[in-house]
């Protein structure tokens, strides 16, 4: 490996940006636009999908069959994105997503992966000590509920469709979406009604 790669990262970025724009590989405008577009993808997108699945059984079925198509139905841009799989929680089984090899994350519907998802501790422990891991997020999974850990190693991105919390009967989709957080869609927490 070339020693030049040891250069401090901010200087590497400045030099790479300079060279790629000088050579017409990318433009500064494209970089700016891409940052804007990426910032626009947030957990609110996934939360809208979850809320709709809670109130609309036909949408729920379509979402479980093909998450990307269901996202597009709600106007979430999925072009060029990897396939999106949806893991359905039931009263008997809870899903937890990890990528032990890197940090594969359903970015189209959840945005940038959070710091903890990329950490060595999360990646190592999710597959071997998942209940201990959940406790660090304040989540106590009842022993009767089976825990199914999905290691996202390849071409799919996975999100969890959590159980609808009690006490939300009659709520609108907007109200429901507001209680769904990013961790609920990875499986480290459950949606809570305060």
């Amino acid at each position: 490996m070339s020693e030049v790669l040891e250069t401090p990262s901010d200087r590497l970025l400045a030099a790479v940006r300079q060279l790629l724009t000088d050579k017409g590989v990318v433009s500064r405008e494209e970089i700016f636009e891409r940052i804007q577009a990426t910032d626009a993808a947030t957990p609110a997108q996934g939360a809208r999908m979850v809320a709709k699945a809670w109130v609309d059984p036909a949408f729920r079925a379509r979402m479980l069959a093909d998450g990307a198509k269901a996202a597009e139905e709600l106007g979430i841009p999925m072009r060029g994105m990897p396939p999106l799989g949806v893991l359905e929680d039931t009263a008997d089984e809870h899903n937890l997503v990890v990528c032990t090899l890197c940090s594969c994350y359903p970015r189209a519907v959840l945005g940038y992966p959070p710091f903890w998802f990329k950490s060595a501790a999360y990646r190592a422990r999710a597959v071997r000590d998942p209940r201990g891991l959940l406790r660090e997020f304040g989540t106590e999974l009842p022993q009767a509920v089976k825990l199914r850990v999905v290691d996202s190693t390849a071409d799919y991105r996975w999100m969890v469709l959590p159980l609808r919390p009690a006490g939300t009967e009659g709520w609108s989709e907007e109200q429901l979406a507001a209680v769904v957080r990013e961790g609920d869609m990875i499986g480290v927490t459950f949606p809570k009604v305060s």
Binding site: V4, I35, W116, S119, V127
Partner: protein, 95 residues
């Protein structure tokens, strides 16, 4: 190194569950990676291979996006998108 599932030395590490805001550096590296992928200059698989080639002490010392810019640079050099001489000259300009 990158293949961390169940690795014993991390099993006692607590997970830092606090939010960490991304920096301007992080966002720009992410955007450049996406553009290089969309333009078929470098695939995400090539990015990963470049990250996996980082020696362990550096891998653990570098932040997530610091690994990315290092892999991107490595890939651009290997593909001849720019040469090491051009990179060294551009780095001089950043001093």
């Amino acid at each position: 190194m990158h293949d961390m599932g169940g690795v014993s030395k991390f099993m006692c590490d607590a997970v830092d569950v606090e939010p960490h805001a991304l920096s301007a550096f992080d966002r720009e590296v992410d955007a450049i990676r996406q553009l290089l992928g969309a333009k078929k200059v470098m695939s995400v698989d090539e990015l990963r291979r470049g990250i996996e080639a980082i020696p362990e002490p550096d891998y653990l010392r570098l932040s997530y996006y610091q690994r990315w810019i290092r892999s991107i640079t490595d890939n651009m050099l290997a593909k001849g998108v720019f040469t090491e001489a051009e990179l060294l000259a551009a780095l001089e300009d950043t001093k």
